[in-house]
């Protein structure tokens, strides 16, 4: 069974609907046991890192997620799901899960005409092939909305980049974990294709 982790972090039904569109039936749950033993996990989220971490821990979902990752379960993080997978978020000075080394920092832009949050469609440039990105061609754009961005320590964890004044990592991954800063569920056909790739992904990075 595919599960969408419910930890009071935003609109999960849009993720569920997009999964349904690509034939992936996903259950929204906050039950740690169900998550730990799922076949496939989506870890979405919008909102603040601090309250998200608090909700995750209160329900033991951080432990369940680590268990599933250790067991090789394919996991897809989206937006805040990606951000709290690093070590630390500048947002509320929050220690986060540490699945991937690095931190999350606020956009500090030199150009005063660039708006924050980074909101809208932007190109996702694949810098390293990955099964979930195999349908993306140069020029494909995805929908973003975020005021903080991931800064992973190891370049080897970066699979795609996006430019907003400077390039930032817009997709990260390691082993059976993969995460996007953009919202595939709100990115039209290209987003649905990424979810479709996730639906059949075996958890191997290549």
């Amino acid at each position: 069974m595919t599960v969408i982790i419910d930890y009071d972090a935003g609109n999960l039904r849009s993720v569920q609907r997009a999964c349904a569109e690509v034939g992936l039936t996903a259950q929204i749950t906050n039950d740690a046991h169900t998550i730990a033993h799922a076949d496939r996990i989506i870890f979405p989220g919008v909102g603040a890192a601090g309250s998200a971490m608090k909700s995750l821990k209160a329900a033991g979902l951080d432990v369940a997620l680590r268990h599933a990752l250790g067991a090789g379960t394919p996991v897809l993080g989206i937006c805040l799901g990606l951000q709290i997978s690093l070590d630390h978020s500048e947002e509320g000075d929050t220690p986060t899960l540490g699945l991937i080394e690095g931190r999350v920092v606020r956009f500090r832009l030199d150009d005063p005409t660039l708006k924050i949050p980074h909101m809208g469609w932007n190109e996702v440039r694949v810098v390293k092939p990955h099964p979930l990105l195999r349908k993306i061609v140069p020029g494909d754009e995805f929908y973003f909305v975020h005021g903080y961005y991931p800064h992973p320590r190891r370049h080897a964890d970066v699979y795609a980049e996006t430019d907003y004044e400077r390039a930032f990592a817009s997709a990260l991954g390691r082993n059976n974990y993969f995460a996007t800063q953009f919202h595939p569920e709100k990115s039209g056909r290209v987003g649905l294709e990424l979810l479709g790739c996730f639906a059949t992904w075996d958890g191997q990075p290549c």
Binding site: G10, N11, R13, S14, R17, A18, A20, E21, V46, G47, A48, T113, L114, K115, I116, P117, H118, M119, G120, W121, N122, E123, V137, G139, D140, E141, Y143, F144, V145, H146, G147, D163, Y164, E185, K186, S187, G188, R189, V190, G191, L192
Partner: protein, 259 residues
């Protein structure tokens, strides 16, 4: 680089699509779910539904429309019209709206913006402002005044001051709707749009008055808008969404061109 967005606004009354001209004489022009799907497939970047249903007992119809659209349109979906409380916002979010637009109720009770931002996140709360040009006065030093209730009630509030206050209270985006330009098809209020876009750090959507493709270009360049909102231009079949995007792209505006 971030693309500029083309947004279509669907005014919905009692579950049906309507389009107003200068906020009066609305007429029904079709099924909102079908239109939404059509625009989505033609490359639309974002959809806005505005509920202009007069009676509150028919609000449920709007939630059904949102739910039906959210099941088949996978781009950001924004809904507004009659949002007066966090509960209204939450109901619409559960039905499938990404962003919630607040307008009149926020003018009457500004704390609504902060409450919604807290509940659903800053990035999901859109402050929609209906604005009329007026003589410069002590109350309205920018020469633009906020009006509410579909343009019928002037509030004596300066539009620039209200935009800054909305940003401070936690709005993630602004819709600049010129009552003077709305429905005229003579172009967006460029000076107004530019003034407000330059004053805030959050994205700004130009609304009201689009009739030709060059109006969109002007709003995104001279008007400094991050997105343009269209309605009658596409609803009556005068222009296709893809045609407008192609036009802007060819004139050098960064647009999402693969969908």
């Amino acid at each position: 680089m971030l693309s500029k967005r083309l947004i279509a606004c669907l005014d919905v009354r009692d579950g049906k699509l309507a389009k107003s001209v200068r906020f009066v004489d609305t007429q029904d022009i079709g099924d909102p779910v079908q239109k939404a799907r059509e625009y989505y497939e033609d490359g639309l970047d974002e959809l806005v539904f505005y509920d202009i249903t007069a009676s509150s007992d028919k609000r449920r119809i709007m939630l059904d429309v949102v739910e039906a659209v959210a099941a088949q349109v996978f781009i950001p979906l924004s809904v507004g019209g009659g949002v007066r409380s966090v509960a209204d916002a939450t109901d619409l979010r559960l039905a499938g709206a990404e962003k919630i637009n607040v307008n009149s109720a926020a003018v009457e009770r500004p704390a609504l913006i902060a409450e919604c931002a807290e509940a659903i996140g800053n990035q999901n709360i859109v402050l929609s402002m209906d604005i009329k040009a007026v003589a410069v006065s002590a109350a309205c030093p920018s020469g633009y005044e906020i009006v509410i209730h579909g343009g019928r009630k002037p509030m004596g509030i300066d539009a620039l001051a209200w935009a800054l206050e909305g940003e401070r209270l936690g709005a993630g985006e602004l819709v600049i709707n010129s009552i003077d330009a709305d429905g005229t098809r003579a172009g967006y209020a460029l000076e107004l749009t530019r003034m407000l876009s330059q004053a805030v750090r959050i994205p700004v959507i130009a609304s009201g008055g689009a009739g030709k493709p060059e109006h969109l270009y002007d709003a995104l360049t001279q008007g400094k808008a991050d997105a343009v909102l269209v309605a009658s231009m596409v609803h009556y079949g005068d222009y296709r969404v893809s045609e407008l995007k192609t036009y802007l792209h060819r004139r050098g505006v960064k647009m999402r061109m693969s969908w």
